[in-house]
């Protein structure tokens, strides 16, 4: 059984079939829609370039071919490990032999934000799009990748956008101060208002109220302040939950129970650390890995040791990142130039090259860096002296 019918859940279900599992395969999802793709929600769907017809992850025929017991529009509400059953919102109990948890994340909220938008589901995106009319005032709380993408699209639609961010430089904790500055400059160039170092206390009728009492007026408010793993339904299951469902390097949380995607916190042996990743490619890769390990004999299982990959589109910029940037000790520009917005920045953690972030570079150049990270390259060998240090 797979609980959570999105990128990770579908990848897991497809892989189970591909690897020859021909028993009953139940896929449970609380959204009413067939599995669809999320990254376009803050890009082509919000801008109106795409209709919802382009969103399904698979055509109906391919989904049908999997022969699933597909239960959409119903939430899993509990798990009994001893009985090997999952409880559903309608009170029913479904038995399983193996379980893969792919329940993703849900947006964090702010006090008073009942009337504010969040952006996680198709319904969220359609509701926000409807309100983004030229001249309307949108306040985006949080200038992370999601908030920045939404701000860029809203700006293109003629909306007056204000981005509010508590950190002095958006994304600095992830990408470093210099790179963070370059990434936020693209908003300023377009006349998007960016206010940093401001904390929003609550959402109000007029807009938002800051911690110092100031009110920033808005017609619409989008709250993009991160997310919480979808683990509530596992609270009394006995599984270990701590910023995600905690798994070992095989993505296993308990005998016969695996997790994948945004909800999973697992030990990545490539970096020697526990991580939880909210990236689209990881959802698919981890879904596949969890499914293979679930079917494999115990000694044939493989640790899941990927190089994380992430992209983001803002205005005409495509940002791509490989590896782990967060928690780095040093950032150096190794190709191109920050000022021209064509560059590769390399990230050092300890003695290793652990990540790169590229803007506007040819794919082959970026892939070479990925290989270096995958090979566990030492910083001193991978990064020739003479790169420009960018704090």
């Amino acid at each position: 059984m797979v609980v959570g019918a999105s990128a990770a859940g579908l990848a897991a279900a497809e892989t189970l079939r591909r690897e020859g599992f021909d028993g009953t395969l139940t896929l449970v999802g609380d959204e009413p829609h067939a599995p669809y793709d999320r990254p376009p929600l803050s890009k082509q769907v919000l801008s109106g370039e795409w209709t919802t017809r382009q969103l399904p992850l698979r055509p109906c025929a391919d989904l049908d071919a999997l022969g699933l017991d597909l239960r959409l529009g119903i939430a899993a509400t509990g798990l009994d490990l001893a009985d090997r059953t999952v409880r559903l919102a309608d009170g029913s109990r479904l038995p399983y032999d193996g379980l893969i948890v792919t329940t993703g994340v849900r947006p964090r909220r702010l006090p008073g934000d009942g009337g504010a938008h969040v952006l996680r589901t198709l319904d969220d995106a359609l509701a926000l799009r409807e309100k983004l009319t030229p001249g309307c005032r949108l306040v985006v709380v949080g200038a992370g990748f999601l908030g920045a993408e939404a701000a860029a699209v809203a700006w293109r639609l003629g909306v007056h956008v204000t981005l509010l961010e508590p950190a002095p430089v958006p994304l600095a904790h992830a990408v470093g101060t210099e790179v963070g500055r370059v990434l936020c400059q693209v908003h300023l160039d377009r006349g998007v208002e960016l206010r940093t170092g401001v904390t929003v206390a609550e959402v109000t009728e007029e807009g938002v109220r800051l911690a110092d009492g100031e009110v920033v007026e808005a017609d619409e408010v989008l709250v993009a302040v991160g997310s919480l793993p979808g683990t509530e339904w596992l609270a009394d299951s006995g599984l270990t939950v701590g910023d995600g469902l905690v798994c070992d390097e095989y993505c296993e949380a308990a005998p016969g129970v695996y997790a994948a995607g945004d909800v999973a916190r697992w030990h990545n042996p490539l970096f020697g650390t526990s991580m939880r990743i909210e990236h689209r490619t990881n959802a698919a890769e981890q879904g596949m890995a969890a499914a293979r390990n679930l079917l494999a004999a115990p000694d044939a299982r493989k640790p899941f040791a990927p190089v994380p990959y992430f992209w983001s589109d803002q205005y005409d910029l495509r940002i791509q990142a490989y590896g782990c940037l967060r928690g780095h000790d040093e950032v150096t520009v190794v190709e191109g130039d920050l000022g021209e917005r064509r560059f590769v920045a390399a990230y050092r953690t300890g003695e290793r090259l652990t990540g790169v972030l590229a803007v506007g570079m040819p794919p082959k150049a970026v892939r070479a860096w990925r290989r270096a990270i995958a090979g566990g390259a030492a910083w001193r060998e991978a990064v020739p002296a003479g790169g420009t240090e960018a704090a």
């Binding site: 990848a11 391919d62 689209r280 698919a284 495509r318 082959k364």
Partner: protein, 65 residues
């Protein structure tokens, strides 16, 4: 087997090139995927399936016959 690539959906991740280098490449300027062969031989079936599965834009489809 026939492979379909939905070019407007592609986000230039390069995942397909890593999974099936004989079937996919990327344009140098913007990284958008190129289908090198629409009818790859059966020996490439596993690679193509892997590419379909790892593509983060659901832009690749395998039509088996």
């Amino acid at each position: 087997m026939r492979v379909e690539l939905d070019v407007p959906k592609c986000v230039a991740s390069g995942q397909c090139v890593m999974a099936a280098p004989d079937v996919f490449d990327q344009r140098d300027d913007d990284g958008v995927a190129i289908l090198l062969q629409e009818h790859p031989g059966e020996e490439l079936l596993d690679d193509v399936r892997e590419a379909v599965a790892v593509c983060p834009a659901a832009a690749i489809r395998l039509v088996e016959r």
